[in-house]
């Protein structure tokens, strides 16, 4: 049985929050139209599949050798530091996100 689902504004707000994406409210109708057009394209797939159909998985002829799980010497330290966007001695300087007292703030360390 086909369960046609429609995305409404309330669900869109929820999804925006899940995906950490902001969207101006004037763009809501366009996005809802687009999402619902894609969902309509997919409705008929539900009718095709029964519970006995297995979900897709890849098969292999021969699995490749994996990397050995051992520590390896790495000499890229200085090269990486040279490419740091903001370097402070032997450290990368990054924006402060969470304040020391546990409250969140925008100030840079």
């Amino acid at each position: 049985m086909i369960k046609k689902m429609v995305m409404d504004e309330e669900r869109l707000r929820e999804v925006l929050s899940f995906s950490c994406i902001g969207l101006p409210e004037e763009e809501y109708p366009e996005v809802l139209d687009r999402v619902n057009a894609v969902l309509r394209m997919c409705d008929e797939m539900q009718e095709l599949v029964g519970s006995d159909v297995r979900p897709f998985e890849w098969d292999v002829i021969k699995s490749p050798a994996r990397r050995k799980d051992i520590p390896v010497a790495w000499d890229g330290r200085d090269r990486m530091l040279d490419r740091a966007p903001v370097r402070d001695g032997d450290f990368f300087r990054v924006p402060r996100i969470i304040a020391k007292d546990g409250t969140e703030e925008e100030e840079e360390e």
Binding site: K3, M5, M7, R11, L12, E14, V15, L16, F18, S19, C20, I21, G22, L23, V31, R34, V35, A37, V38, L39, M41, C42, E44, M45, Q46, L48, V49, V53, R54, P55, F56, E57, W58, V60, I61, K62, S63, P64, A65, R66, R67, G76, R79, M80, R83, P85, V94, P95, I97, I98, E104, E105, E106, E108
Partner: protein, 493 residues
């Protein structure tokens, strides 16, 4: 010497036997890019300094009598989602605008080890999400065959560059047709090998269960040589199979006498552009002339559900893959008053409109309710599509079908009718869903000079046989020439 008209293998042959130098070939190609790419906009980063060093190393190897490699001195370009050591890799997105990787993708490494010279990076739809190469932060790429049309996408920069004679070979990535459709639009040859044929290590992912590296060339012998260089197991990519590959360059010459080739029927050919329907008939005739038996085939599940299935799987994968770009762990950072605001501002500023919308759709279908009713059925339909092809290839050696229902789109269509653009993936996306090898092969041009390509498909890991089929057709149809950009006014800087 018109180096831009030579194939990759002709260039390598000349370098190896001392007829010309790798540095000379490189200079000629860089000059052509500088002269003509101002308008086409296919190359977003030129790495001239490192390219000169690589070319000089090849020339030294030749001078000292060492083997300079299969692709000695062959200049090549790579889509801007391949990691390249010391060369910025942006995915044509503000999110990665200034990112310079400190390692080469395995595909890049193998090309360099074979003596090829990386000239730079090519334009693409942002994060490979698109079919027109119009959603790049570097601006759109134009189609070298017709400047009023798009080059296709998402590897539109790579296809346009090969068509324009900026390089005899370029690398792209193909998630739902992103190598093959732009190859069709630009009138060159493009291949998506079997899933597991070439390592994806160092490729910025769009949808990992679908992505595959693909070469773009102007003839099939170059394509087969590229496959010899690129294919092979890699401990850094456990999805890359370790089976023993045949020589693709030997296979491409093996002919198709006695092979059974199916031509797809049962789709709405009336709504397709007529020259593309005629191209299918022409390709079938060429196969028959080369000694193959032609039969008809239908793929009802694939034709009805492939696009929907593809978008469910691809966008679900993409929303998950792109979650790491949060302004803190990866990518563009924007300050915020709190953690959530920082995430949102970073992602809003970093991602373009199309990427944000695809992430939203992908997130939606992975949430409660939608996951069970849309995503899970899509993974089952995907298996049914793979089974449908497996059944077909028990009876035939290969399939000929369209790669795109339309000739190259005019610029701007993506804004007018995005769902029509999505439906353009109807023929190309099935190869990614089922992991099959697929080639977009040019079989001529319309009277207006627009390319007409067809799609060839084969069984999984049947890449060698598919190359032989493509070569047999190319023997009759001819390989496409470099686009006449000089006469189209492409010389404006």
């Amino acid at each position: 010497m018109e180096f831009h008209k030579l194939s990759a293998l002709e260039i390598a042959e000349g370098v190896k036997n001392g007829k010309w130098k790798a540095s000379e070939v490189l200079s000629a190609h860089l000059e052509r890019i500088r002269k003509y790419d101002g308008r086409i906009n296919s190359v977003v980063t030129l790495s001239e300094e490192s390219a000169r060093k690589e070319a000089e190393a090849v020339d030294r190897a030749v001078a000292e009598g060492r083997d300079p490699g299969r692709f000695a001195g062959v200049p090549f370009l790579a889509k801007d989602n391949f990691c390249t050591e010391g060369i910025r890799t942006t995915c044509c997105s503000k999110m990665l605008e200034d990112w310079i990787p400190d390692y080469d993708a395995t595909a890049i490494k193998r090309m360099k080890e074979a003596g090829a010279v990386l000239m730079g990076k090519t334009n693409m739809d942002e994060f490979a999400m698109g079919s027109t190469t119009e959603s790049s932060i570097f601006g759109p790429t134009l189609n070298p065959r017709d400047f009023g049309r798009v080059p296709g996408g998402s590897s539109g920069g790579s296809a346009a560059a090969v068509a324009a004679g900026f390089a005899p070979l370029a690398l792209g990535s193909d998630t739902g047709g992103s190598v093959r459709q732009p190859s069709a639009f630009c009138g060159v040859q493009g291949m998506k090998p079997s899933y597991g044929q070439i390592s994806r290590y160092g490729i910025v992912a769009y949808a990992s269960s679908l992505d595959q590296v693909g070469p773009i060339t102007r003839n099939m012998k170059d394509m087969a040589a590229a496959m010899d260089v690129l294919a092979g197991a890699d401990p850094n990519d456990t999805t890359c199979d370790a089976y023993e590959r045949p020589s693709f360059s030997d296979a491409v010459l093996s002919g198709i006498k006695g092979k059974k080739v199916a031509v797809l029927t049962g789709f709405d050919s009336e709504s397709m552009d007529r020259p593309l329907v005629e191209a299918i008939d022409r390709a079938a005739e060429y196969c028959r002339a080369a000694g193959a038996e032609i039969v008809k085939a239908k793929l009802p599940i694939t034709m009805k559900h492939a696009v929907a299935c593809y978008y469910m799987v691809a966008l679900g994968d993409a929303s998950s893959k792109l979650a790491c770009y949060d302004g803190m762990r990866y990518g563009h950072h924007a300050d915020g008053r709190n953690l959530m605001e920082m995430y949102k501002r970073s992602r809003n500023e970093g991602f373009g409109k199309e990427v944000r919308k695809r992430i939203l759709i992908g997130t939606c279908i992975l949430t409660r309710g939608y996951y069970d009713n849309y995503y899970v059925p899509a993974t089952k339909v995907r298996q049914m599509i793979a089974d449908e092809y497996a059944e077909l290839f028990r009876n035939v050696d290969a399939l000929i079908c369209p790669i795109s229902p339309a000739l190259p789109y005019r610029k701007g269509l993506v804004e007018e009718d995005p769902v029509r653009i999505y439906l353009g993936d109807a023929f190309s996306s099935a190869a990614n869903l089922a992991g099959l090898p697929s080639i977009s092969l040019n079989v001529g041009f319309t009277e207006d000079g627009l390319p007409t390509n067809v799609q060839l498909m084969g069984p999984r890991f049947g890449d060698a046989g598919l190359l032989a089929l493509a070569q047999a057709i190319e023997n009759e149809a001819g390989s496409p020439a470099v686009a006449d950009i000089e006469k189209k006014g492409g010389c404006e800087e």
